[in-house]
């Protein structure tokens, strides 16, 4: 029996049981948020605020309580959304960063197709020169999306590949350059310094760039996600999150904690391994999937 497995089901059971909003109902909601990786601090804050509102607003039943909770979480996420930045002189440079295996290369390929479909001219840079066959992997995405890639050999200097790609994107007046970087744990200082160096190389060649530094995060990530976001922001200047693998059973609740504590917006979500499985972030849909529509 997998009863009350998903947050939606848990909440349904709360609604069924609750005539009045009592501590029991709030406690059940608290458990549900914890089960979705929102973390103790964020969950406690959300539930405390909900309790306050419940007192003031005379909530009649569980259904109303759920709507309030949804609005609360949606608010946290929406507060971080900003209008797309204006790129004064192309190329717009987007850097993909993150810990190992989260989906950077895949998302680079999907994003290239996404921008191409908008009629933009796109270039990709294979700046993961470390992992076995990372370049070949991006090359396949290049074929799939019909987007050219700039690369060097495996073991080469990623900043050199980046330098070439920036020059090429400028010379060809590409609209967008997407840079795939090697996965690295945020605790490895030398690897984080390498990202910082790549960012400075970018700035030198394209002023204002990188325009976006997207931290690619796996939806199954637990509380370590906060530390990832913190340290990648310090070294690489993260401007937004891509939440991947949302086609699984994990709901990616850690991004709520990240939005609240680090003021980072979610930009895109990954919902599969195919080229079209990338969607712009929609906070209402996210909250529906978190709490049940």
């Amino acid at each position: 029996t997998r009863t009350r497995d998903s947050l939606g089901e848990r909440i349904e059971s709360v609604i069924a049981l609750t005539r009045e909003v009592d501590e029991g109902a709030l406690e059940e909601l608290e458990m549900s948020l914890l089960a979705s990786d929102l973390g103790v601090t964020t969950t406690t804050e959300i539930i405390d605020a909900l309790r306050e509102r419940a007192k003031r607003q005379q909530i009649r039943d569980g259904a109303e309580l759920k709507e309030l909770l949804k609005a609360q979480i949606k608010g946290i996420l929406d507060d971080q959304q900003r209008p797309p930045h204006v790129v004064n002189s192309p190329p717009e440079v987007i850097m993909m960063v993150g810990v190992n295996g989260t989906g950077k290369t895949t998302t680079t390929g999907k994003l290239a197709a996404y921008f191409r479909a908008q009629g933009k001219s796109v270039l990709m840079c294979a700046a993961d020169t470390f992992r076995a066959a990372a370049i070949e992997q991006l090359e396949v995405w290049g074929q799939r999306s019909g987007v050219e890639i700039i690369k060097t050999r495996q073991g080469g200097d990623p900043s050199a590949a980046l330098f070439d790609a920036l020059q090429a994107a400028k010379a060809r007046s590409n609209d967008v350059l997407i840079v795939d970087t090697a996965g690295r744990l945020h605790t490895k200082n030398s690897l984080m310094a390498e990202l910082d160096k790549m960012r400075r190389t970018t700035q030198r060649i394209v002023p204002d760039a990188p325009h976006e530094v997207l931290l690619v995060m796996d939806a199954t990530t637990g509380q370590n996600g906060l530390q990832q976001a913190r340290l990648f922001t310090e070294s690489a200047g993260v401007t937004g999150i891509v939440l991947t693998k949302l086609d699984g059973t994990a709901k990616g609740g850690i991004v709520v904690a990240i939005a609240r504590e680090l003021e980072l917006p979610v930009r895109f979500v990954g919902v599969g391994e195919k080229i079209e499985d990338l969607l712009p972030f929609d906070s209402a849909a996210f909250v529906d999937s978190l709490l049940g529509a």
């Binding site: 497995d5 490895k188 796996d218 699984g248």
Partner: protein, 312 residues
Amino acid sequence: MFENLSEKLQRAFKNLRGQGTISEENIGEALREIRVGLLEADVNLNVVKDLIEHIRAKAVGQEVMTALSPTEQVIKIVRDELIALLGKDTARFQFASKPPTVILMAGLQGSGKTTTSGKLAAWLQKGGHRPMLVSVDVYRPAAREQLKVVAKSIKANLYEGDTKGEVAGTPLVERLAKEARREAVISGCDTLIVDTAGRLHIDEDLMGEMESLKKLLSPQEILFIADSMTGQDAVKSADEFHKRLALTGIILTKMDGDARGGAALSIRHVTGQPVKFIGMGEKPDAFEPFHPDRIVSRILGMGDIMTLIEKA
């Protein structure tokens, strides 16, 4: 980042001095702190609930020892419970009576299967074995190429096979697996490590493919390769993989970071299978046997106090 659990507990037990036993009342706050600590370490909610009840039952009524402070005493109980859950014995590897021993690598996308296949091969080589590697990941771009590069870097045997333009699908996967086993026998390799494509536990087709691979190869070991940064979802994926495949062990990857690794407890709890190795980096030699006591200190966020407790 996190306040040390022992600091939190010290606060909780401030008033205990002078009292003879740990009571229901004075352990309440301590248990709340332990709960928060375990949740912050990504231990599954239901596992935490069970643990807290066990710890409560053990702690209440215990006399305050002279050798340890109440805090240390409770931490000792917590530690013992966690180690008991993880299993004390160091895991061993199953070898087939008639070679080749087949090891099937399974897990979600990006967990570290391909990298760990190489590490395992290198570890077996060091132990005097002759492993052969094969990738049946016909889906992910350059996945088979990746294993080839890894195999070359450790000078391990690789069955490359030929996809012959065949469409990516289970028939091709099965053909490659069968050919690789035959090749292992012919070339005198005593172990065959089968690297599979990452898949979601809710993907019916691909989980079915794993089942047919198992039927085809009758592997001695079916290892679940899990990312140590995984949160509460760990129980769902591990549970499903175990139900479909009857896993024989777990390898926890990316332990060279700062994740607390509470997922290890969750996965062990739902599968009942031991964590056998941990991945400590991207290179082939960044691979270690699993020690329950070390990860327990890590989950609790304390190393120093443990030595003290062990002496008591």
